[in-house]
Symmetry: C2
Subunit: 200 residues, 2 copies
DNA sequence: GACACTGGAGAGTGCCACTATCCATCATGG
DNA sequence: CCATGATGGATAGTGGCACTCTCCAGTGTC
């Protein structure tokens, strides 16, 4: 299929597809001549993935590139898969520690996590920002939130481990992480309505 | 306190404070002459709130204005409070229905929610986008996610109802919704690491 | 051989959160 | 009493980002 047909199939303008090719988030087609290339179903899927990540996931195009590069690289062992995916998604964030609050929380929960990793640090920053804005995030509240998100993570792991191949598992972790986030946040609001109605 | 002192206290440049005044997200100080005004502690707190919402919450400045307007308006009754806060936070989103998947899900869970509200619609859109990107979101998976977020919502409700005044409850709902979202997402990633380590 | 289409590259657009400039008006010190 | 400097107010400029447009020479197609 030619680029104009790819544009028609995906609903994305040709100009934007060229832009994606330039930015390296869409793999080039197999050239059929010096001025034309052939695109297949994998390109259609890639375009859908890019649009989903950029539009609904809020990922910048440069971030999409590192993600698709990780998806194309030979998949790591099942144990390293999650770490690799997380490092890809977190990007080269700051390397400061998680902060005392988060360290205490993780120890209290007994979670065996990478305490100096990018997400523990991100958690510390998010907690600090929320508290600076006036949110009453006591240690007990954080623990209850953490236990609820642990249940979410169990579902995530079930989905990833049910994948047929390591490559598919990687894809599921990345897409599931980025694209399911908005689903969870929307569920939170709807659940608030339900809980409020039930208590009334 | 003068605007330069407010800038010093909050670490925000004077130019930016003027910009916030123009955009209506920072309330004007009490004028002491035609070329000076007096700012108090409530302005310091407001600036912190605005910075938190814009920087860490990803809320556009125009959205911050509707939020602070809702916070300044006379607080609604306790039963309407959540709905008012949600409508403020959701903005004038599309008014299409939630979609069949979400309607089935909510009915299966037995949640009494505003099925035509903005968040049910947002949930439908998020689920569609995630599926378009290739996430395997079966109805069963959605139900498990929903139950976990229900636990989160119970914590949210506890926090809001523990507020001393309706105005404080409103503040807690808004800040808790916007600023706790990143905390939850960070917790999800950390919980994934913990769950993965435990299963290894 | 006319014409549309292709890949490639540079420059322009629109949005947004600032950020800088300019100016008349006070506020204060010498 | 006037020079200096901060203030509020308005206008315009900046930088980042995701496109989007324009141009080009080289095909494929009729």
């Amino acid at each position: 299929m030619r680029i104009s047909q790819l544009a028609e199939r995906t609903g994305v303008p040709v100009h934007t597809l060229k832009y994606y090719l330039r930015e390296g988030v869409l793999q080039p087609g197999t050239p059929t001549s010096r001025t034309s290339a052939d695109y297949g179903e994998e390109h259609v899927e890639r375009v859908r993935l890019v649009r989903a990540l950029v539009e609904h996931g809020g990922v910048p195009v440069a971030g999409v590139r590192t993600i698709v590069e990780a998806l194309e690289a030979p998949p790591p062992s099942r144990h390293e898969l999650l770490g690799t995916a997380h490092c890809t998604l977190a990007g080269p964030g700051g390397d400061e520690g998680p902060g005392e609050v988060v360290a205490d929380l993780l120890e209290g929960l007994g979670w065996r996590v990478w305490a100096d990793g990018p997400f523990a640090a991100a958690l510390g920053r998010a907690v600090e920002a929320a508290r600076a804005a006036g949110a009453p995030l006591s240690e007990d509240v954080l623990r209850r939130y953490a236990e609820a998100m642990r249940a979410v993570a169990e579902v995530d792991l079930d989905l990833a481990l049910a994948a047929g191949s390591p490559a598919e598992a990687m894809h599921r972790v990345v897409v599931g992480t980025v694209m399911v986030d908005p689903v969870l946040l929307a569920l939170r609001r709807v659940a608030q309505e339900a809980a409020s109605a039930e208590r009334a």
